[in-house]
């Protein structure tokens, strides 16, 4: 029997309308102080907020329950955009799922710019619903994915959402997606240290996050943002499994000469790890074919197993598996 989502009010986020965007020092419409803080005096939302249910979030035990059969939960983070979080997430998924004994899930939290479906070659799929919740999209028998991309009316619809709405969707992804038994859930995140990051940590804290994998590129402008992400992990109490330096060095396919595209003028990822006491998992060189493989949704690791890039990626995956205690 399938549940009718439309009539099941329990699984929906609290339905309320704010009359204006939340003010700067807003305690948060869902907090205990909603409607009572200093910022609430004179705020048009005061009454709406006061009438909302209070207390600890009743959804968190449900999330913990839903994720209880997932052994390892890994966040892929980076303060900087375009360093290869999604590419690396997809590589990690391909690599792990090549072991048929492992069940792998990939969750795409980048709501305004979802790239995982394309990289995993399932961009035009739809989400199905069953009595146990939303069924994720299966790329292979043992690789499941979830992304907002599967719900868009058109490929290039823009998701113009403020944070509060993104949080509600993230909650649904955790609470209502039928992940079933997984060995790994890999969570791809957007750049920055804002709503998505605060929410995923809050929602998953009780289920236990194994840790975060930080991705960076070698130049200082990227490292600067990555420092902020590391600072965030420390503030939020998320363990850092290690750091991967992506796009380090490029081998010209014509003359085999090596060059650095993103110069590590300050020592790159390795120096940052030393400075901050983080495990350095390795450097992954740039291979121009990787972008093409991602565009086509194919596994780079299967296509070009001889590439030094594949080797470097598999090396990192091995270290990651050791770090989370999976042998």
């Amino acid at each position: 029997m399938s549940t009718d989502v439309a009539n099941d009010t329990k699984i929906l986020p609290p339905d309320y309308e704010l009359k204006q965007p939340e003010p700067e020092h807003c305690p948060g419409p869902e907090s205990d102080n909603a409607g009572k803080g200093d910022a609430c005096v004179g705020c048009a939302n005061k009454e709406v907020c006061e009438s909302l249910p209070k207390g600890p979030d009743p959804d968190i035990p449900l999330i913990t329950e839903n994720l209880s059969q997932i052994h390892h939960k890994v966040l892929v983070l980076s303060g900087k955009g375009g360093v290869g979080k999604s590419t690396f997430t997809s590589m990690l998924c391909w690599a792990l799922s090549s072991d048929e004994d492992l069940q792998v899930g990939a969750m795409d939290l980048d709501i305004c710019g979802p790239s995982l479906p394309r990289m995993l070659g399932c961009v035009n799929e739809n989400i199905h619903e069953s009595n146990t919740g939303w069924t994720p999209v299966y790329v292979t028998d043992n690789l499941a994915t979830m992304s907002i991309q599967y719900m868009l009316p058109e490929d290039d619809s823009a998701i113009i959402w403020r944070g509060s709405k993104k949080n509600a969707l993230i909650k649904k992804f955790l609470k209502d997606v039928d992940w079933d038994c997984l060995d790994y859930l890999i969570v791809d995140t957007p750049p920055g240290t804002s709503d998505e990051h605060i929410s995923i940590n809050k929602f998953m804290k009780d289920s236990g996050i194994d840790g975060a994998l930080i991705v960076t590129t070698p130049q200082e402008v990227a490292l600067l943002d990555v420092r902020k992400e590391i600072d965030f992990c420390r503030k939020a109490g998320i363990d850092i499994i290690g750091l991967v330096e992506n796009m380090s060095g490029f081998v010209c396919p014509n003359c085999k000469g090596q060059s650095e595209i993103f110069k590590a003028t300050t020592g790159g990822g390795e120096a940052l790890c030393k400075e901050l006491g983080i495990t350095f998992l390795g450097s992954v060189p740039l291979d121009p074919r990787i972008g093409k493989a991602c565009d086509d949704g194919q596994s780079f690791l299967d296509l070009y197993p001889e590439s030094p890039t594949s080797e470097a990626i598999l090396n990192v995956v091995e270290k990651l598996r050791d770090a989370v205690g999976d042998t």
Partner: protein, 306 residues
């Protein structure tokens, strides 16, 4: 102002989401229909946007600013990437701070030769330590952007460039809302050539259309890398994606910018150089590329706002 509606039950049931929150609904109490005073002497406002992160929005913003300053213009640069501000590092101004005058925040001056000037405003100048993270949810970011638009003393400026974070979320809704009455010239969209990037950028273009922001054109960044050993050009992130995107969306194509490791090096080593960044940049191999991009923007002949 905006209506926050959550998901409707029906949307969820059909797994199709009502994807646009930008519906303006004028509230009775809070109508700000006037131009912020701080922008009253700013002649042109350009936004630099991209749905994708790491495509080079900040590096394009920096180079546009350097090009304009090199042409003798007075330039202001506003960085609204609050959780990852890179512009202070780009202009070699890390560690500088803005101070508050009776009329508002005074931006950091990176260059001034009496005629042309370069002024910067970024959250990076307000942080104690460069490693500190700003862990803010939407409402605080919105408030900060409002303050950046209303309280910075730009003075007389020819071009104000606004650098944005990736996405189509709080920062973007807020800046579009704040500039609604300010008549910005429009947006320059930055992309890299590969499909994964242009897919996100198409979302950004849809955003611009939704909020009625004029699109000035597309810049394709990181198109090709010239090997320093054999001068062979490799298309690391494939090729032509920007031009195709421009054609399919009927938007002007402003130019493609190759990867030049010397630019990153110039940025990183500027502090040890005796020359100003504007002068150093004039000798960069990328300078003519950006001059031609800027020329195409000038060709629109958008009248001064003042």
């Amino acid at each position: 102002m905006y209506f926050f509606t959550g998901f409707s039950n029906k949307d969820l049931y059909h797994h199709r989401i009502n994807y646009c929150e930008f519906q303006h609904q004028v509230s009775m109490t809070d109508v700000v229909e006037e131009l912020p005073l701080s922008l009253s002497n700013v002649k042109h406002i350009l936004l630099i946007l991209s749905g994708k992160g790491g495509v080079g929005k900040s590096s394009v913003t920096t180079q546009l600013a350097l090009t304009l300053a090199g042409l003798g213009k007075k330039v202001g640069v506003l960085d609204i990437d609050l959780t990852g501000p890179s512009l202070p590092r780009m202009f070699g101004m890390e560690g500088q701070s803005v101070y508050q005058s009776s009329e508002g925040w005074v931006p950091v001056t990176a260059y001034d030769n009496g005629n042309a000037c370069l002024k910067l405003m970024s959250l990076g100048f307000l942080l104690g330590d460069r490693g500190n993270s700003v862990v803010w949810r939407g409402p605080k970011k919105t408030a900060m952007i409002k303050q950046f638009i209303n309280d910075v003393q730009w003075g007389e400026i020819d071009y104000l460039l606004i650098d944005t974070p990736p996405g189509t979320s709080d920062e973007h809704i807020s800046i579009a809302e704040q500039l609604r009455w300010a008549q910005p010239d429009g947006a320059i969209i930055v992309t890299t050539p590969q499909n994964v990037a242009t897919a996100d950028v198409r979302k950004e273009i849809n955003f611009c259309r939704k909020v009625n922001l004029n699109i000035l054109g597309i810049v394709e960044n990181m198109s090709g890398f010239i090997c320093p050993h054999c001068s062979e050009c490799t298309n690391i992130f494939s090729k032509g994606g920007g031009q195709q995107l421009a054609n399919s969306q009927k938007i002007d194509f402003l130019g493609s910018v190759p990867i030049d490791p010397a630019f990153v090096e110039m940025i990183e080593k500027q502090s040890s150089s005796k020359e100003q960044l504007v002068t150093l940049y004039e000798r960069s191999s990328l300078a003519p590329v950006f001059e031609s991009i800027m020329q195409k923007v000038f060709d629109n002949k958008i009248p001064s706002r003042v």
